[in-house]
């Protein structure tokens, strides 16, 4: 006869759930001014590790049910952590899903085409004009054209 009260609680599913949640949330870091440049894999990795920890907890609850309890709580944690893992995978895929056809974009050593666009003050400006400098300012030696996704 197994003494149910003596079975140990396991925190593994909850720790794992927390990790997968942190992993999914960490995808938002670049949008609050914390670029993920050094570790683009961190969000996915956190969620993956978290999910493995949850699975270990489940294995404890079901495989060694004489030692550990928490079949129900472990299952709930597993369901949610799977959801957070899915979110992390979708974000990871989406962040790297950039069209590859930029092979014909201007390369180092090539000339970029001139253009004329509206600036945010409502003036029409061309690349040539940008190089000629504005009133009272010295013309720039170089320009850094920053194309960005917009919708900020």
């Amino acid at each position: 006869m197994v003494d149910t009260a003596a079975r140990k609680r396991t925190l593994a599913p909850w720790m794992g759930l927390l990790l997968t949640l942190l992993g999914a949330l960490s995808n938002g870091l670049p949008f609050v001014g914390f670029p993920a440049a050094p570790v683009p894999w961190i969000s996915l990795l956190l969620s993956l590790i978290g999910f493995v920890v949850v699975l270990l907890g489940l294995w404890g609850a079901f495989g060694q049910s004489t030692v550990y309890k928490g079949k129900l709580s472990g299952s709930i944690a597993a369901a949610f952590s799977l959801l957070f893992l899915a979110v992390a995978i979708v974000f990871f895929w989406d962040a790297r899903h950039i069209p590859a056809e930029s092979a014909s974009a201007p390369q180092v050593g090539q000339l970029v085409p001139d253009f004329r666009l509206w600036d945010s003050a409502g003036h029409s400006v061309s690349l040539t004009q940008l190089f000629s400098g504005s009133a009272g300012k010295e013309p720039p030696k170089a320009l850094l054209l920053v194309f960005y996704r917009g919708y900020w």
């Binding site: 683009p40 069209p99 201007p106 000339l111 509206w118 013309p139 170089a142 850094l144 996704r149």
Partner: protein, 92 residues
Amino acid sequence: MPVAISVDAPEVSENLRRKRGYTFPFLSDQKAEVIRRYELLHPRGGPDGTDISRPAEFLIDRSATVRWENFTEDIRVRPRAGELLAAARAIR
């Protein structure tokens, strides 16, 4: 001097520029014509399936020649300032 270019409307860019306190020009390419000419279009990459620009940076000298460029493989990964500054210092 940096020049920011996106499909955002001038009012939207002006808002962003003010909020961040930037003083360099923000240009609007709402029909993505220049973005297309530079081969940087990300079809249906924006909200509601709108066409946007992929992130890309070009350092160009006064002859409009590209001296340094960066195409990220992950929109969360930004260019390294060191590389860019080294390329900029080489321009006389």
